[in-house]
């Protein structure tokens, strides 16, 4: 009967009134991301030798559909190499405003050096601040540029606003995210 259906609906909404809301109060509470989420790039290192995996081949720049990556290669110093190969990337920049986070650089990379991480909080004020250099993306650098600037200003450690369910992917060697 029609009226009873209405009563049933009213009962459902009243029941939901006493249910705990599913809202995540984002900046205070951490948003939950899946490991496959493609965020800011991470430049990984070889686990044992601690050398950079990147050999400056520019294949990522060639694969990039948004022309967001700029690589300049240089010869390794044999006594004190930066990467295990002949050459390394002396300049490695990604323009995060151009990047569409498609992950094709990661697929193109022959050494698995550039990997899509999970960080996404990169909002900033100036165009120039969106060009992330090597030292902003190497393993061990926590947080994005504005996050690190804010942390330095307040004298507090960088706080990431997300957690990754089950931890970061295996390719992200040495990267830790809050869980």
């Amino acid at each position: 009967m029609g009226v009873l259906e209405i009563a049933k609906g009213m009962g459902i909404t009243l029941g939901k009134l006493f249910q705990k809301p599913v809202t995540v109060s984002y900046p205070e509470q951490r948003a939950t991301l899946q490991p496959r989420f493609r965020g800011r790039h991470v430049l990984t290192r070889h686990p044992g030798t601690n050398l950079e995996k990147c050999i400056g081949c520019s294949l990522c720049a060639a694969a990039c559909p948004a022309y967001a990556i700029y690589v300049e290669a240089a010869e390794n110093d044999p006594a004190n190499p930066t990467s295990p190969g002949e050459r390394y990337a002396s300049v490695y920049e990604i323009n995060m405003l151009r990047c569409i986070f498609c992950g094709m650089c990661e697929e193109a990379c022959p050494t698995g050096a550039v990997v899509m991480g999970n960080e996404f909080e990169m909002a900033d004020y100036r165009y120039s601040d969106f060009v992330y250099a090597k030292e902003d993306m190497l393993v061990g650098v926590e947080g994005s540029l504005p996050q690190r600037r804010e942390a330095a200003r307040k004298g507090q450690p960088v706080r990431l606003g997300f957690k990754v369910e089950g931890g970061p992917r295996a390719e992200l060697e040495g990267v830790t995210y809050p869980q």
Partner: protein
Amino acid sequence: MPDWIIQLLITLLKGVGVALGLLTTFAYMTLIERRLLARMQIRLGPNRVGPMGLLQPLADAIKSIFKEDLTVTLADKLVYTLAPIIAIGCALTAFGGLPAGPAGSLFGADPWVYNLDAGLLALLAITSMGVYGIFLGGWASGSKYPILGGLRSSAQMISYELGMGLSVLGLLMLVGSTSFHAITNWQANSGWMIMFQLTAFVLFLISSFAETNRTPFDLPEAEQEIVAGYLTEYSAIKWALFQMAEYVNMITASTVMATLFFGGYRGPAFLEGLIPGIASWPFIWLFAKIAAFLFLFIWVRATLPRLRYDQLMRFGWKLLLPVALANTVLTAAIIAFSTGRVRVLLLVLLGVTGVALLIAFSDRMRVLWTAPTVRREDVNLTPARPAGGD
């Protein structure tokens, strides 16, 4: 000072107090409504401005006042400005006649602004004047969606005004007066009116939803069809005034329902046995009843979808009006031909059977408003030019 000046000052003070009280209630009503709706949709709702979002109404008010007050080029400037004032003026005036307690309970003064013998009639008249605000606002905007919204609201209000007026006729015959005091006193002696006029209450409740333009009858501001209806071309404080009028009307409708069917400012009599005199405490009972009805308004808004416009009109004319008429006639017959306990029994029976029949036949009756009024074979269904693209 002469006595009449003091009386005038007191009345003025009460009027200002009621207006301020209603506007504060409106402001916090928006917050409570948003929070409750959010919780019913398993969200949190606005909780950022102040503790628990308690300063949100203040922020909204500041925003409304300082926003740019746009006027459309094609608008009729005078009527366009006057319309929200009419709407809020009628809404605030209507509330003043409702008693919030027995005579002399407001620090020695009477807890109402004005007291008319034609209380209920005057209230219905003033609230229907409020339609002018909406209709003129829609017309004066000089734009198509507002005028559609304005037309819808006037048609809807006129239709449901009939059902509303007819549904309280039985009650008025029982009491023998249209004064709210007489109605409240009658209920204090004989018990709450809802026991004797259950069907009338159901009809009045449905009509109230339509009269206050609330879901499921908020067709004048149906976003999916006509943007924001009569509000489309309004901004800033004028828009806020229309919103205020809508919420004040809702508060008034709640108060009227509490006064007519739930004993008004008097509490339930059976509590007198526990704490003597509790039923006569002023204000508290009325406020509790108003709050309960306001919660019902929000609850329904969270649950029910909107009706289609033609179905809304047919629902009013084909179901609400005849049932209200039948209720009036049967109540009149019972009052004419019976007395004492038999009359009470018959009235209770009438109310319960009426509602039971409405529930039992709710599926069968749907034909009344879903069936098209125009017979299909009369209509030439072949379009003049092929449908879809020129």
